[in-house]
Amino acid sequence: MSPTTTATAAPAATPDLEEASPPPAARPATRRAHDGALPRPGIGYLLPALAVFGVFALLPLIGVAALSFTSWNGLGNPAFNGLDNWQQLFANPATWSSLKVTLILTALGWLLQTPLALLLGVWAAGTQRLRAVFSALYFLPLLLSGAAVALVWKALLDPTFGLSGQLGSWFGSDGDFLSSPSGALACVLAVGAWQFVPFHMLMYQAAARNVPAQLYEAATLDGAGRVRQFFAITLPQLRNTVVTSSTLMVVGSMTTFETILILTNGGPGTATQILPFRMYQQAFMSFEMGPAAALATVLVLFGTGLSLLIVRFSGFTKMNSTLEGI
């Protein structure tokens, strides 16, 4: 692995960025360390991780794929039923409406969280007064468990005894958001953003800190304003982080679970029933393990496919370090 790709894989963590621009001559030194006394790690080093991954990820995955061709309620032996579950899965309009909810939630989630996280992160990377205090406050939601967050929000959104009823009455609303399909979706989005923006903010903060200061100095001398600097320097410098953060966001939104379970329970009706929640309901509420396994298999393929697509179309593999040539 060349140092260039190391920087690409972990743009935020490249250690030598503090000094802004390492002289090119320093690079071969890194390589020499690899070729030196210590041999490259052999396959043996890989075994523990591979074993854990095999037993706890691959094996259950194969099991689930096998289950998707059976009819099983959790008791006795699964009975092979061919492609029944798969046909049902694609023929059932509920699957498609659930997919629609999932995609809407993923897309809106990304649209909501990315700008917020980006702006907050860049702001937090600066040197303003009280910056550390505010950053710490913004960071708090990330320290709370997802279930606790959902429970608290559920209480706040109670129109009768919660805050939303109180605040709502000031604006001529009854504060009842959870009982309409679009309101419930908005609540899930908002709570998700409140909870996860801090994490992405942290990523952007770390990356923004690594943008060499002389770029801004040069831009200021050339007369570029703050907005111009943001779009011409900060954003291009953060593009690797944008891709990483987006991948995590998309995969994360697709597997949002406890927020929905606690806040809306998939409701009202099926308005917030995203695919993972539907899978849970089929498997552990309806005890239809076969159809649930088919859905699980689709989710695995879909999630993997989507992250591969993001990586491919964002040119992640062809990317160079944002510090190339500096």
């Binding site: 096998a66 099983w72 008791l75 006795g76 109670d158 009982s179 009706g269 099926t270 029933q273």
Partner: protein, 451 residues
């Protein structure tokens, strides 16, 4: 009972190490899922095998729901004896899932709590639960317990799958007597007086009925009681059996139209969709006079007495669900939890001992009296005098007992009686009918399509 010996895995040495502690909570649950998945991948030989940890070396387990009062009684009456049993308790949330997974991986309990109906049906289909009718003296159960309380432990072919372990919990219409008196309203025990009350109370800017619409099982109470009043028992039983056409031909659509009518009248207020029961909101609405009525199981009486003492002592009154003028049948029908049951796993190799224990103890004077003293209304027959003497609330307890004793039918809540697939679809659809995003007729279409 030799079933367990018969089914035990011959490839494993006898006296292999006992099963690990089953109360491992989330980790155990996850392990269960993992082993489920693994079981699916492995050969059928493996998935069909039974208790590797032979039950002879393990203390038999009785599984029940977490409930400090009940658990103390259960520990006292069910654990002692030979064999000594161990009570394992689980919170209500996900108990059904834990039980299913444990039974599916052959590490299930010997005696287990259930609600009857579809909560025990699949275990009967899989041959995993003992038919008590085969082991108890003929007619014993019917004499020992109120017949209406045994209904949901019975199968269509006459098996008896469990014995009542605690009180009976019919759904009752609670109302605020003070408010009704102030407004000159009669008890809401007929549909007419009920509707009058709804309209009158609304004029006072009070929500007529507290409804925790965030949880659809509370909406189900209205729907199932209306169906019971408007239809015939046979039509309801057909729903539970999954008979084709049963949702279309029965009282379902008409009941849902009544539901729509109530919603449009403003009977449940406007924000019921965000009101939840678990957080105590619906109860608080009712007890603070912001709602006039509340349809809920009898446990709400205990709940109100514990959390809203003043209100319970001064203003609380109750009635059966209003009688309908044109109802096809069902005037004496009740809905709710007839009671909860203990069933015996047919794979326990001490099943005969467990059956005898349940027979001797669940109907014993000591057990029943302890339940009464804890505020329960047990399903045991002929306990009127003891209720009067020992119940903390003799008036309410006697009313519940007499109502059940005189009931023609006591239908198990539909969310426990229906097969899980139907149940989930019904609850989601019902929520939409209440919100007006689905019509009664498309509710029926959706349900029929699942049969």
């Amino acid at each position: 009972m030799t079933t367990a010996t018969k089914m035990s895995d011959p490839t494993r040495p006898q006296g292999s190490p006992p099963a690990p502690d089953r109360r491992t909570g989330r980790r155990g649950f996850l392990a269960g899922i993992a082993s489920l998945a693994a079981a699916g991948a492995a050969s059928p030989l493996l998935t069909g095998c039974s208790t590797e940890a032979s039950a002879a070396t393990v203390t038999p387990e009785v599984w029940a729901l977490t409930d400090p009062v009940q658990n103390a009684i259960q520990t006292k009456y069910l654990e002692p004896g030979t064999p000594r049993r161990r009570l394992a308790v689980f919170p209500n949330t996900n108990y059904t899932q834990k039980l299913r997974i444990a039974m599916g991986t052959s590490k299930g309990p010997d005696v287990f709590f259930n609600w009857g109906g579809a909560s025990v049906g699949p275990y009967d289909d899989a041959g995993m639960v003992v038919d008590l009718a085969e082991h108890l003296p003929r007619g014993w159960a019917e004499k020992a317990f109120l017949p209406a309380s045994l209904g949901s432990a019975r199968t269509g072919d006459g098996k008896l799958l469990g014995l009542p372990l605690k009180g009976m919990q019919p759904v009752v219409l609670f109302y605020n007597k003070d408010m009704f008196d102030d407004l000159g309203l009669a008890a809401p025990d007929t549909w007419d007086s009920f509707l009058r009350a709804v309209d009158r109370v609304k004029k006072e800017n009070v929500t007529p009925i507290a409804l925790a619409g965030a949880e659809s099982w509370t909406q189900l109470m209205w729907f199932e009681f209306l169906a019971e009043r408007l239809g015939r028992g046979k039509q309801i039983d057909a729903l539970f059996r999954g008979t084709r056409g049963s949702w279309r031909d029965g009282p379902v659509e008409e009941s849902l139209k009544y539901v729509r009518d109530l919603v449009e009248r403003g009977a449940f207020g406007r924000t019921f969709g965000s009101v939840s029961y678990g957080s105590g909101t619906a109860t608080a609405l009712f007890a603070t006079g912001r709602a006039a009525m509340h349809l809920m199981g009898t446990w709400e009486y205990t709940n109100l007495n514990a959390n809203h003492k003043k209100f319970a002592a001064r203003s609380l009154a109750w009635s059966s669900f209003p009688q309908m003028p044109s109802g096809a049948g069902g005037a004496g029908a009740l809905v709710g939890n007839p009671t909860n049951y203990f069933s015996v796993s047919s794979r326990s190799n001490l099943a005969a001992d467990h059956i005898k224990m349940l027979k001797d103890r669940l109907n014993s004077r000591g057990y029943v009296d302890t339940l009464i003293a804890a505020g329960e209304v047990p399903a045991a027959a002929g306990i009127e005098d003891r209720l009067e003497a020992k119940s903390p609330d003799p008036r309410f307890s006697r009313w519940v007992y007499d109502t059940v004793a005189g009931a023609e039918r006591f239908t198990l809540s539909w969310d426990q009686a229906l097969q899980p697939v139907l149940k989930e679809a019904m609850l989601a659809q019902l929520q939409e009918v209440f919100l007006g995003t689905t019509s009664p007729s498309s509710f029926v279409d959706t349900m029929e399509a699942l049969l």
